[in-house]
């Protein structure tokens, strides 16, 4: 290889890395902003952008002067070596030496603050974890209305929503896997009439949009009194997750070596023993990848929780969405809440990413 070729290689590698770094920077920026904001005081959040926590130049008040009572504020005022009218001072006037004079309040206050651009470093406005405390405990709001009734409004406690999400997500992950594993074993290794037809239907409903089910299932739930219950939402997530789970596990289990199972049958093992002692342990990779898939899906789901669980047991997505709706400008609650809702899925995701990717590659079209 000659040196020209090498130089070209270095140059193209620099360009490629540069482009990727730029894309990654834009990918991370919104999340970084929300994370930093979640750690700032609510006052600071509202008055300055989150990027101001980085060192930058800022107008700092160095002095405050009160004009003498003898000064006529309706005429141009001479102060600190400049002359300006009240209106100009209200908007801020720059002095030749770089300071800014700003009148604050109305004419009667007679107060002018003098500010100067200065460098500020990290954390000149201190960070806090209060937002997280606030959003996790979600104090009850009590107030008395005009006719004297005391009104108690439920705070948006993400702490209890977090628990509810766990109560929804753990069974709604394990139950479909269990049911799908039994079914996949049946479809791949047992013989029964209608096997092919039934499995074809499973393949057909893989991508059916779940909106199809919401109206009739809601009617059933109202009749069965299942609305707002954990059982109801577990079953719903199970129903919507089962086709994909059965399909993925079937694909995996049907590739297990035939000899192995035949040997076990000859040794007199029952179907149940073969399933629990042989098939399940061998299918752990497939089970794990679907488990992560389903867990993330259930944890992050909003529609099904909104329709079947509603206000009775708020899950994190529901609670977060209602903060958006009720307190859309309370960024200290919203940003901290967003991070609380992301913690668990992100942890699961990073710990088990390998399995997740495998699940994705196995085909991931869900209705």
């Amino acid at each position: 290889m000659n040196s020209g070729y090498k130089a070209q290689k270095v140059r193209s590698s620099l360009i490629i890395n540069g482009v990727l770094i730029l894309i990654c920077f834009f990918w991370l920026l919104p999340t970084l902003g929300v994370f930093i904001t979640s750690l700032r005081n609510s006052q600071d959040i509202f008055t300055s952008g989150w990027w101001t926590i980085f060192p930058h130049k800022e107008q700092m008040q160095t002095e405050e002067i009160t004009l003498d009572a003898s000064v006529n504020v309706d005429a141009p005022i001479e102060v600190q070596g400049i002359t300006a009218t009240f209106e100009e001072l209200r908007l801020g006037v720059k002095t030749p030496d770089g300071r800014t004079l700003t009148w604050y309040g109305n004419k009667r206050t007679r107060k002018i603050s003098i500010t100067e651009e200065q460098w500020v470093g990290f954390f000149y406005k201190p960070l806090t974890i209060n937002n997280y405390v606030d959003v996790l405990t979600g104090k009850e709001i009590r107030f008395t209305d005009a006719s004297g009734n005391e009104i108690i409004r439920k705070g948006n406690s993400l702490g209890s929503a977090f628990l509810n999400s766990v109560a929804v997500a753990v069974p709604a992950t394990i139950i479909p896997i269990l049911i799908a594993a039994f079914a996949a074993f049946g479809f791949s290794w047992l013989n029964f009439p209608g096997r092919g037809t039934i499995f074809t239907i499973v393949v057909a409903i893989l991508v059916v949009p779940l909106q199809i089910s919401l109206v009739p299932i809601l009617q059933d739930y109202t009749k069965l009194n299942l609305n707002g219950t954990f059982l109801g939402i577990w079953l719903a997530h199970t129903g919507f997750g089962l086709p994909l789970a059965t399909y993925l596990l079937f694909n995996y289990m049907s590739t297990l070596p035939r000899d192995l199972l035949e040997a076990a049958y000859i040794d007199g093992a029952s179907n149940f023993t073969i399933f629990t002692q042989l098939i399940l342990p061998l299918s752990v990779p497939a089970l794990a990848s679907f488990a992560i898939f389903q867990f993330l899906w259930v944890w992050n789901d909003y529609l099904i929780a909104l329709v079947f669980l509603g206000d009775k047991s708020r899950v994190v997505t529901y609670a977060l969405a209602s903060i958006v709706g009720e307190k859309g400008q309370d960024w200290h609650l919203l940003t901290a809440g967003a991070f609380v809702s992301m913690m668990l899925p992100l942890a699961v995701f990073f710990a088990l990413q390998r399995f997740f990717v495998r699940g994705l590659l196995a085909g991931s079209v869900k209705g």
């Binding site: 490629i16 890395n17 990727l20 894309i23 990918w27 920026l29 919104p30 999340t31 902003g33 952008g49 989150w50 509810n164 766990v166 109560a167 069974p171 394990i174 139950i175 049946g186 479809f187 047992l190 013989n191 039934i198 074809t200 057909a204 409903i205 893989l206 991508v207 059916v208 949009p209 779940l210 909106q211 199809i212 109206v215 299932i217 809601l218 219950t229 954990f230 059982l231 199970t238 086709p243 179907n271 399933f275 992050n300 909003y302 529609l303 329709v307 997505t317 977060l320 969405a321 859309g328 919203l334 940003t335 967003a338 992100l346 995701f349 990413q353 994705l360 590659l361 991931s364 079209v365």
Partner: protein, 370 residues
């Protein structure tokens, strides 16, 4: 299995079998009753939340496992021939029942409801479909969903492809990929909050400082701050950015693994023959991963067809950002019109029928197992 029947004669053996069957009936019934009782307890209880949550988890997971163990035990008590015939249904049955209840049968029930009035009583013929295909709001949702499908999918797949190809040539591939991939773990509601903060707008006035990233950037460039999410039709594009942010990771990972499957000799041979990188990309890489690309595009198109959470959280469908799934939700839960909602759901189903047909065709092509 037939240990006792030999010693006590035929009648005794029959009684024993019958007894087994009877007991076998009781066990599942009692299991079910206990589970139901705990369910009622959970529904009405005032116990501390953490207790309820723990009981719920143990009950739900344990209950399902117990149902399988018990019904398998029940079937194994039956005479051998029956056991063999029934056992597959113990394994497959629950899944089939649940899938039928939740997905297969609702297709027909929703279809029936779509021809009925708002409370599902009187038949109204095609009225709901006339609404679904001619109403101004519905036409707007069609336009927007088309926008989501075309713009959202092409940017997600395009960026995913670009990043996968570029990252393949660097030493830090896993770092880049992890960063792009991470949003996949975030809920759409969470992503909605993140981006709402990027787009936030405070307005003009003395001493007001924009705290949203986009407005601050626009101001720094000398522009005017804008309420980005209430500017039709551009607000749709600002919402689509969120979807691209979420879905590019998926496209990238799947495409990246397909690229890794391209034999190196193939690319080497092309380079020796004097092909440039761009030529190699279009003549070898793209044709080689065509199947994967189609899968990824299909998945993301279906995703954008059913998109709901982002629009619901960000704009509620106002200011010209409504989409089909959100209009479905509004019709059913805000206006209480099951007929129209069902018709909209059927429209969504019709849109995915080509994918269903294709899935079935692919499946039939290689159903070795049957």
């Amino acid at each position: 299995m037939q240990k006792s029947s030999g010693s006590t004669g035929i009648i005794g053996g029959l009684a024993a079998t019958l007894g087994r069957i009877l007991i076998s009936f009781f066990v599942p019934v009692i299991t079910f009753l206990i589970l139901w009782w705990v369910f009622i307890f959970l529904r009405d209880s005032e116990a501390p939340q953490i207790v309820i949550v723990l009981v719920a988890i143990v009950w739900g997971v344990g209950g399902v496992a117990a149902l399988y163990v018990v019904s398998n035990w029940f079937v194994e008590q039956l005479p051998g021939d029956w056991a063999r015939k029934l056992q597959p249904f113990v394994y497959v049955g629950p899944a089939v029942v649940i899938m039928s209840w939740y997905l297969a049968v609702p297709v027909l029930r929703t279809l029936a409801l779509s021809f009925k009035d708002d409370i599902g009583v009187k038949w109204v013929g095609l009225d709901n479909y006339i609404f679904a295909f001619t109403d101004r709001i519905m036409l707007e949702t069609f336009r927007n969903n088309l926008l989501w499908m075309i713009v959202g999918t092409s940017f997600s797949v395009g960026l995913g492809l670009l990043i996968a190809v570029l990252a393949d040539r660097t030493r830090f591939e896993s770092v880049y990929k992890a960063i792009i991939f991470t949003p996949m773990a975030i809920s759409f509601v969470g992503a909605g909050v993140i981006w709402k903060f990027v787009y936030t707008y405070k307005g003009e006035g003395v001493g007001i400082e924009e705290i949203g990233l986009l407005n601050a950037f626009v101001l720094a460039m000398g522009g005017q701050s804008q309420p980005w999410l209430s500017l039709p039709p551009w607000n749709n594009l600002f919402l689509i950015v969120i979807m691209v942010w979420l879905q590019t990771g998926y496209a990238m990972v799947v495409i990246s693994s397909a690229i890794k499957g391209i034999p190196l000799e193939l690319l080497e041979a092309a380079r020796i023959d004097g092909a440039t990188e761009v030529q190699a990309f279009f003549k070898i890489t793209i044709p080689y991963i065509k199947g994967t690309l189609i899968t990824v595009i299909t998945t993301i198109v279906i995703f954008s067809l059913k998109l709901f959470d982002i629009v619901r959280v960000m704009t509620g469908g106002n200011n010209g950002t409504n989409v089909i799934a959100n209009e479905f939700y509004l019709q059913r839960f805000t206006y209480g019109n099951t007929g129209r909602a069902s018709a909209i759901a059927i429209v969504l189903l019709i849109a995915v029928i080509p994918v269903i047909v294709n899935n079935l065709r692919e499946f039939n092509k290689d159903r070795r197992a049957f």
